[in-house]
């Protein structure tokens, strides 16, 4: 715990490994309760990177025991966004309603709009429907969330940013972004700028430009360990 708190870049590794463990584990061989307790503590750490990594890992919980969701909802917009990730996969409607209400109170913050979009798109997906931009605007209006097109783009990008295998959910968000950019041509520049930023940041805070991984196929070396933990940024 103390090591994780002092070396925040380690949290990135924890996030990735814990996330995958949680997604892959069919059997409860992981000490879920102990892990969730630690992660909930870390989700309130002073360091934003520690918070983000802990919240991302919590968002992948397979079996929500009823403790994580309320804890997340009591935190920040970012925590509520992870709660949305958790709730969107659940079968129970009640947590979704609860999460939506909290997120609406945080809107139009980007994290909140992104998380609401995730919930709505996932709901449509469950009904085998694809959400159009017109529908999204309509749902935003019904939820009394006022957001400008220029603010919706980063929210949509954030809604699609996760560590999951690419699937039709991501395709749905891509279609929404396509529609948005076609309607608001000025946003194409913002979209390209966002791509530039994403490529500059690289994967797991290992910027491609500074990485021996640059180029394909990658050189058989590992990502260089930064000289100081602060050299690494969260995704």
């Amino acid at each position: 715990m103390s090591l994780l708190e002092s070396a925040s870049w380690l949290l990135r590794e924890l996030e990735v490994s814990a996330s995958w463990l949680l997604r892959k584990s069919e059997q409860a061989e992981i000490p879920h309760e102990a892990l969730s307790e630690h992660l909930l503590v870390l989700s309130q750490a002073d360091d934003g990177r520690v918070q983000a990594a802990a919240l991302a890992a919590l968002g992948h919980w397979r079996e929500e025991s009823g403790a994580i969701l309320p804890a997340l909802l009591a935190l920040s917009p970012m925590a509520s966004a992870r709660a949305a990730y958790l709730a969107a996969r659940g079968k129970d409607d009640e947590p979704v309603i609860q999460v939506k209400a909290i997120l609406q109170s945080y809107a139009p913050q980007t994290e909140a709009v992104a998380a609401l979009t995730r919930l709505w798109v996932m709901q449509q997906r469950a009904e085998r429907k694809t959400m159009s931009l017109t529908t999204l605007w309509s749902v935003l209006g019904s939820a009394q969330v006022t957001v400008m097109p220029g603010d919706l783009l980063p929210a949509l990008l954030q809604a699609a940013t996760d560590n999951d295998v690419w699937y039709d959910y991501h395709e749905s968000i891509v279609r929404l972004i396509q529609e948005l950019v076609q309607e608001e041509e000025g946003l194409l520049a913002d979209l390209l700028a966002a791509l530039q930023t994403a490529l500059d940041e690289g994967y797991g805070g290992c910027p491609p430009a500074a990485s021996p991984w640059r180029g394909w196929p990658p050189a058989p070396q590992s990502c260089p360990t930064p000289s100081t933990p602060s050299a690494r940024r969260p995704r």
Binding site: L192, Y203, S211
Partner: protein
């Protein structure tokens, strides 16, 4: 699509951005979508060709998207010397990699069959000649294998692949 990009950023910058995406070793999704985005510009540059050939050796999803993308490169970049471009493409389809040969054949078919090829005197003829020579030189029984999901599929012999590209260049029936 290329025109839309031109209104917001110089073409070279957009190309460089997508090329950087094709080199993102941390994410195959980044590589596959970047190569598709690159193909929307329709312009074959030396860097785009290198990216396509690298994708031939990538994981199945990237390789498949690169094959889709290859058919959209319908113009040679003005800065890409015609002889140099053809030499690079011919070298690739004579190379060891069957997947790279397949991709190269798709690029040549797209370039050779596009209306833009007619604007460069003799280009279509030279592409056809290169493909024709390739058909004759290719080992008759050498099979091209491509990745499809978790399977490896036969795409025909190298000569058949080049012949199919040649038929597209001359707009021959049969495909």
């Amino acid at each position: 699509m290329p025109d839309a990009f031109n209104t917001v950023r110089p073409a070279a910058e957009v190309t460089a951005l997508f090329i950087a995406g094709t080199e993102d070793a941390g994410s195959f999704n980044s590589r596959r979508h970047s190569i598709l985005a690159l193909s929307c510009l329709c312009m074959l540059t030396p860097e785009a060709l290198a990216a396509l050939l690298a994708a031939a050796h990538d994981v199945d999803k990237v390789q498949q998207d690169a094959i889709t993308a290859a058919g959209d490169f319908r113009r040679l970049h003005p800065g890409f010397n015609q002889a140099e471009a053809l030499d690079s493409l011919v070298a690739a389809f004579h190379g060891e990699s069957g997947a790279a040969a397949y991709l190269t054949a798709q690029v040549l078919a797209a370039l050779g069959s596009s209306p833009a090829a007619l604007q460069i005197p003799g280009l279509r003829g030279r592409i056809a000649q290169a493909l024709s020579d390739g058909v004759q030189d290719a080992p008759a029984v050498e099979m091209v294998y491509l990745l499809r999901g978790d399977k490896i599929e036969e795409a025909g012999t190298r000569a058949q692949v080049l012949l199919a590209a040649l038929s597209l260049v001359w707009a021959l029936p049969g495909r």
